[in-house]
C-alpha cells in the first residue's frame, strides 16, 4: 500500500494569490492513499526540500506529489530531494498548479477547484508509480559542429582545445561564414578578415579538428552520447590531396558568368572557384551546374592547365558515417529576400543595396576593390541614405516580427566609415529607434553623429523611387513634423536577418525544436540558453537568435563548455521511462518494431510462464539503452503487451479518471 505525501507550494504569491493553497491541502489530505499534506512558501527552497525530507522520513512515505510550478522547472529538484530522503526519485509526481492554473486564471474559486483536480490526478498517478532505476549508456568522445562560420569555428576550437575530437561540416566550399564577407567590425572598426583568418587557420591546423567543407549532414540517428551521422561530401571535382591552390585553373576557366555568391551577386566568378582568397581549404570546387565541361562535355581547360593533375571530373558524392557524442548547430543566417518590399525599389535600381552588399563594396577584395561607387554607373555617390528596420519588427507576413539586433550598429559603422573615407558624401540615416545596448555601442553611435556628421532622422522611409539617375526618398521627420522628399545617389537597406533556411531540415533530423521564425529553441530562455531541449544538441550563434560577433563568440564558447561537460563523462544515465513488453500478453507480431524510431525492439524466443502454462514463444524485447520512451509502440501493440514505464496505461487512465471524476 502506498503512503503518499502531498506538498503544496505557494511560490510566494505566484500560486497563493489565485489558488487557496490551504484548501488544496485539505482536499488532497482526504484522497485515498494520502497520509500527509502540507503547504509552504517555496517548496523548491532549501527549507521546502527539508520539509519534504522530514515528512518522508517521519511518515514513511512511499511517494510524493508536489503541487507547484511546471515539472519542466523543478521535477528534477524534487526527485533529488526524494532521493536524498531515501525513496526512489521516480516516486515523485508534480501537479502543475502554476503555469497551468494560477497564472492563467483570475477567479480564486475556479483556480482552487482546478488545482484540487490537478493534485488529485497527480495523486492517482503516483499511486501507480513504481520505482525506476536509470540505466547507463556510453559516450562517444567526439563532437560534430554543423556550420563553419565564426560560431562553428569558435565552438570547434574550444572543444578541441579541451582535448576532444571535433568535426566541422560546412556546406560551402570554405569555412568562414558571414564574418568572412564583412569589411570592418563594430565598435572597434578592426578588419574582419584580420581577426577571423587566424581562427580559420588555427581550426584547419588543429590536430583534433577535422573539417568537411562542401559537405552536408544527410541523416542523424541515435541519441545523446551516441549519435550516428551520415555526412555527404559533395563531389568537389578537385582532388584535395593533389591541389596546390595555385589558382591557375580559376584564371583560365572560360565560363565566367556565374554570379559570385560571396560578393552577393555584385559581380561574377568562374565555374571552378574558391569563394575568396583566404578560403580554407584553399582548394577550388567545380560548380557543375555552370561548368561547360559538365554541361556540354566539351572544355576541360582546367584539367589541362592543372600542373598537379588534381582535376577529377569523375569524382562522386561520398557518404561517410561518423559517431558523435554531441552535436552543435551553428548554421548562421542570411538576409531576407526583399521581393515584397516594392516601396524600396530594391529590384528596380542597382543603386539600392543591402548592407551586406555594401560590406562587399567597401571591402578591398570586393567587386569594386573597396571603392565606394554606384553599381549602376560606377560613379562615386555624393549622397547616401540608410534605411533601418527593413523587414525587421514587422507584424505582417512580408517581414520578421523580431528586431534583427545588429543593424543599428552596423549602419552607424557604415555611415561613419563613409564619412571618414569620403567626407564629401552626405549621409542620412532614417531610423525608428536607435538601439545600442552593449559595451561602447552608444558611444560609437554618438561619434557617428557628433564627430562624423551623419544625419539621423527619426521616421521610417515611405518610398524610394528611381528618378533619372537619382533616387527619390520620401519620408516623414517625426520630430520636426514635416515630410521630406530628398534626392540621393545610393540607398542602403538594413535588411532583416533570418536563420539559414536549411536549418529547418537539420532541426528535423536532430529532432530539435524550432520556433515560428525558424530559430532553434533553447531549452530554457534564461537558464539553458545554449542547449536544445533535445539532449546532446547544442546551439551556437545566430541559429538560436539574432546576435553580433562578440555575443556569437561568447555563445560558441558556452556551447563548447556544455559539449565538453558532456564528453567528459564516460557514461550517461539513461531515461528509465522506457517501454517494456509483458511476455504474457505479447504475440510476437512485430507491429511495435515497425513504429519504433530507434530500432530498440527486437524479438526472441522465450519461455513464458502464464500462471503455470509454459510455452516457448516469440516475444518482443526492448533495449532500454536505445529506447527513448516515446510510447509509439504502446499504442501500436494490439494486445496491450507493451507499456511505458513512468507513463503506463494504468497511470494515464488513472489521471483521466481523476480529472473526470
Amino acid at each position: 500500500m502506498q503512503r503518499i505525501g502531498v506538498f503544496v507550494c505557494h511560490c510566494g504569491t505566484n500560486i497563493a494569490a489565485t489558488v487557496d493553497v490551504k484548501r488544496v491541502v485539505e482536499a488532497a489530505a482526504k484522497e485515498p492513499g494520502v497520509v500527509h499534506a502540507e503547504d509552504y512558501q517555496y517548496m523548491c527552497s532549501e527549507a521546502g526540500q527539508l520539509k519534504i525530507r522530514e515528512a518522508i522520513e517521519q511518515k514513511h512515505l512511499t511517494g510524493i506529489v508536489v503541487c507547484s510550478c511546471s515539472p519542466r522547472m523543478h521535477e528534477n529538484t524534487f526527485r533529488q530531494a526524494a532521493k536524498r530522503a531515501g525513496i526512489n526519485p521516480y516516486m515523485v509526481e508534480i501537479a502543475n498548479i502554476r503555469e497551468h492554473c494560477s497564472w492563467i486564471h483570475k477567479d480564486i474559486e475556479e483556480a482552487t477547484e482546478k488545482a484540487v483536480i490537478l493534485a488529485r490526478a497527480a495523486i492517482a498517478k503516483v499511486m501507480l508509480n513504481a520505482p525506476l532505476t536509470p540505466g547507463t549508456s556510453q559516450v562517444v568522445k567526439r563532437a560534430l559542429v554543423i556550420g563553419g562560420g565564426i560560431a562553428g569555428i569558435q565552438t570547434a576550437l574550444d572543444i578541441a582545445d579541451a582535448g576532444y575530437e571535433v568535426d566541422i561540416v560546412e556546406k560551402t566550399p570554405s569555412i568562414g561564414g558571414r564574418m568572412s564577407q564583412l569589411d570592418k567590425t563594430f565598435p572597434t572598426l578592426d578588419c574582419s578578415a584580420c581577426i577571423l583568418t587566424p581562427k580559420m587557420v588555427e581550426a584547419a591546423a588543429h590536430e583534433k579538428i577535422t573539417i568537411y567543407t562542401y559537405s552536408e549532414v544527410e541523416k542523424v540517428s541515435g541519441f545523446v552520447g551516441d549519435f550516428h551521422v551520415d555526412i555527404r561530401k559533395k563531389a568537389r571535382s578537385v582532388d584535395m590531396s593533389k591541389c596546390t591552390g595555385c589558382g591557375v585553373c580559376q584564371e583560365k576557366c572560360p565560363s565566367r558568368k556565374t554570379p559570385n555568391e560571396f560578393n552577393r551577386g555584385l559581380n561574377t566568378r568562374s565555374a571552378i572557384y574558391t569563394p575568396f582568397a583566404q578560403a580554407i581549404p584553399n582548394v577550388p570546387v567545380i560548380d557543375r551546374e555552370h561548368c561547360t565541361k559538365f554541361k556540354t562535355g566539351k572544355c576541360g581547360v582546367c584539367a589541362k592547365v592543372c600542373q598537379a593533375g588534381a582535376i577529377d571530373y569523375d569524382q562522386q558524392d561520398e557518404i561517410i558515417t561518423v559517431d558523435y557524442g554531441a552535436i552543435v548547430v551553428a548554421t548562421g543566417f542570411d538576409t531576407i529576400k526583399l521581393d515584397k518590399y516594392d516601396e524600396y525599389a530594391y529590384n528596380q535600381s542597382p543603386d539600392v543595396i543591402t548592407s551586406l552588399e555594401l560590406e562587399r563594396i567597401m571591402n578591398a577584395a570586393g567587386p569594386t576593390k573597396g571603392h565606394l561607387e554606384r553599381m549602376s554607373d560606377h560613379k562615386p555617390p555624393k549622397s547616401m541614405v540608410f534605411i533601418q528596420c527593413v523587414g525587421s519588427r514587422c507584424a505582417d507576413k512580408r517581414g520578421k516580427s523580431y528586431c534583427s539586433k545588429i543593424c543599428c550598429m552596423y549602419t552607424a559603422k557604415h555611415a561613419m566609415l563613409i564619412r571618414d573615407k569620403y567626407p564629401d558624401v552626405d549621409v542620412t540615416v532614417f531610423y525608428i529607434d536607435v538601439r545600442t545596448p552593449g559595451k561602447n555601442f552608444d558611444e560609437f553611435y554618438r561619434r557617428a553623429v557628433e564627430e562624423y556628421g551623419v544625419h539621423y532622422i527619426k521616421g521610417q522611409v515611405g518610398k524610394v523611387a528611381p528618378q533619372g539617375d537619382k533616387l527619390l526618398v520620401q519620408a516623414a521627420d517625426l520630430l520636426d513634423n514635416k515630410q521630406i522628399r530628398m534626392e540621393t545617389d545610393m540607398v542602403v537597406l538594413a535588411t532583416a536577418i533570418e536563420p539559414n533556411p536549411d536549418v529547418r531540415k537539420i532541426a528535423t533530423m536532430l529532432t530539435a525544436s524550432i520556433d515560428t521564425n525558424n530559430f532553434l529553441t533553447e531549452s530554457h530562455a534564461k537558464l539553458r540558453p545554449v542547449e536544445s531541449p533535445t539532449a546532446g544538441i547544442f546551439l551556437s550563434g545566430v541559429c538560436q537568435g539574432p546576435k553580433d560577433i562578440p555575443e556569437t563568440v561568447a555563445q560558441a564558447g558556452a556551447a563548447a563548455v556544455k559539449v565538453v561537460g558532456l564528453l567528459a563523462k564516460d557514461h550517461l544515465v539513461t531515461n528509465p521511462c522506457t517501454a517494456k513488453a509483458d511476455p504474457i500478453f505479447c504475440n510476437g507480431c512485430s507491429t511495435c518494431e515497425k513504429v519504433c524510431p530507434y530500432g530498440a525492439i527486437s524479438y526472441e524466443d522465450q519461455l513464458v510462464n502464464d500462471h503455470g502454462i509454459r510455452e516457448t514463444r516469440r516475444v518482443a524485447v526492448v533495449n532500454s539503452a536505445l529506447c527513448q520512451g516515446c510510447g509509439a509502440c504502446t499504442v501500436a501493440c494490439p494486445s496491450g503487451a507493451m507499456d511505458l514505464q513512468g507513463f503506463s496505461n494504468r497511470q494515464i487512465l488513472a489521471e483521466v479518471d481523476a480529472i473526470c471524476r
Binding site: 507491429t591 515497425k594 513504429v595 501500436a636 494490439p638 496505461n649 494504468r650
Partner: protein, 325 residues
C-alpha cells in the same frame, strides 16, 4: 468435393502432411464444423460445400504447434487472413500445406430460417436453388437469398497464397463483385443523429459473448486487452451500452489496417449485429486517406497504421470533409 478428399488422402498417405484441417458434416446438412482428419477413415465425414463458411486460417495458429505439417483448405478470402497472420508471425508457413479451394459464395442458415423454412431434415444445393426436405414438407429457396452479406460483395475469387488449387475460379470470373462500401456510404449519408440511433440499436443487442473477437483472424492476441485486469473494462457484462461501444470501437481500431474484411465477425454474431460495417469504415477511410490498401494481399508491406507520409491528412478532415458526415 471428392477431389479434395482424394488429394487429402494422397497427401496423408505420402507423409507430406500429418493432419488435414477441413470441415466435417453435421446433423442437419447445414452445420458442418471445422475439424481435423488424421486418416483415410476419418475423411469419410469430410465435407465442403456452401455451408462451410468458417475461415480456417485462424485455426492454423494452433496447428503450428502440432507435430508435422497440416493440410488446410482455404477459400479465396480465407487466404488474405492467412497472409496477414504470416505477416504477424502467428502461423508457420513452413508447417502448412495450403490447398486453395473454389468458392461459389457461402450461406447463412439464419437466412433460411428467416425465409420460414423449418424442421429441416436434408438440404440439397441444386444449381441456383436450395432444396429442403422438412417435416413440414418439401421447400426451396433461391441460393442467392441465403448468401452471407460478405459474399454478395465478394472481393475476388483469387487465392493470395496456396500450394495448389482445386476447383478455383478461372481468371475471368475471379474479379470482385459489387461495391462493398455501399452500406458504409449509406450510413455516412445519414445525419449524425440517425447514425447514432442506428448504432445504438445494433450495439445495444450485444451480449459480449466475444464470438466476433474469437473468430476474428486479426484478433489473434493470445490474451486480449479486454481480458486484462489492467484497464478496468468490464469484460463480460453487457452492463451499459457504453461498454459495448467501447469494446467494438477498440476492437475495430485494433484490427484497423489488419482486417482483411473476411466478414467472420458478422457471420458469427448471435444477435446479427453488422459488425463488418465498423471494419469496412476503417478500410474505406484508409483507402481514401492513405491510398488503397488490402490487408493480407501480401506478407511484407507496412500496414497503414504502422506507416505514414509527411503529407497525411490532418484529423480535422473529419470536420471539414462535409457531405453527410
Amino acid at each position: 468435393m471428392q477431389g479434395l478428399i482424394e488429394r487429402a488422402k494422397e497427401l496423408l498417405a505420402d507423409g507430406t502432411v500429418a493432419q488435414v484441417l477441413g470441415w466435417r458434416k453435421g446433423d442437419m446438412g447445414y452445420d458442418p464444423e471445422p475439424a481435423y482428419f488424421k486418416s483415410e477413415e476419418e475423411l469419410k465425414d469430410f465435407v465442403y460445400d456452401a455451408f462451410c463458411g468458417a475461415n480456417l486460417s485462424k485455426y492454423m495458429i494452433e496447428a503450428a504447434k502440432l507435430e508435422g505439417k497440416t493440410l488446410v483448405f482455404l477459400k479465396p478470402c480465407d487466404t488474405y487472413s492467412f497472409n496477414q497472420l504470416i505477416k504477424e508471425h502467428r502461423v508457420d508457413r513452413d508447417k502448412t500445406y495450403i490447398i486453395g479451394v473454389g468458392c461459389q459464395g457461402t450461406l447463412k442458415p439464419e437466412k433460411i430460417r428467416e425465409a420460414g423454412i423449418k424442421g429441416i431434415e436434408t438440404v440439397t444445393i441444386d444449381g441456383d436453388t436450395l432444396k429442403f426436405d422438412t417435416i413440414y414438407g418439401a421447400k426451396e429457396m433461391p441460393f442467392a437469398d441465403a448468401l452471407l452479406e460478405r459474399c454478395k460483395v465478394c472481393k475476388g475469387k483469387k487465392h493470395m497464397v496456396y500450394d495448389e488449387l482445386i476447383g478455383a475460379a478461372e481468371d475471368e470470373e475471379a474479379g470482385p463483385v459489387g461495391n462493398r462500401f455501399e452500406e458504409v456510404e449509406k450510413l455516412e449519408a445519414m445525419s449524425p443523429e440517425e447514425r447514432f440511433a442506428f448504432w445504438q440499436e445494433q450495439l445495444s443487442k450485444c451480449i459480449r459473448c466475444n464470438a466476433c473477437r474469437n473468430v476474428c483472424p486479426a484478433c489473434s492476441c493470445r490474451k486480449c486487452v479486454f481480458d486484462s485486469n489492467q484497464y478496468d473494462t468490464s469484460q463480460k457484462a453487457n452492463a451499459a451500452t457504453f461498454e459495448e461501444q467501447m469494446f467494438h470501437i477498440i476492437r475495430a481500431f485494433h484490427v484497423a489496417g489488419r482486417c482483411t474484411d473476411c466478414g467472420e465477425c458478422s457471420r458469427v454474431c448471435p444477435q446479427g449485429i453488422p459488425l463488418h460495417l465498423l471494419n469496412r469504415k476503417f478500410i474505406k477511410d484508409i483507402d481514401s486517406f492513405y491510398g488503397e490498401y488490402q490487408a493480407g494481399a501480401d506478407t511484407d508491406s507496412r500496414g497503414p497504421l504502422t506507416n505514414f507520409t509527411f503529407e497525411d491528412v490532418e484529423p480535422s478532415i473529419v470536420q471539414t470533409r462535409g457531405g453527410g458526415h
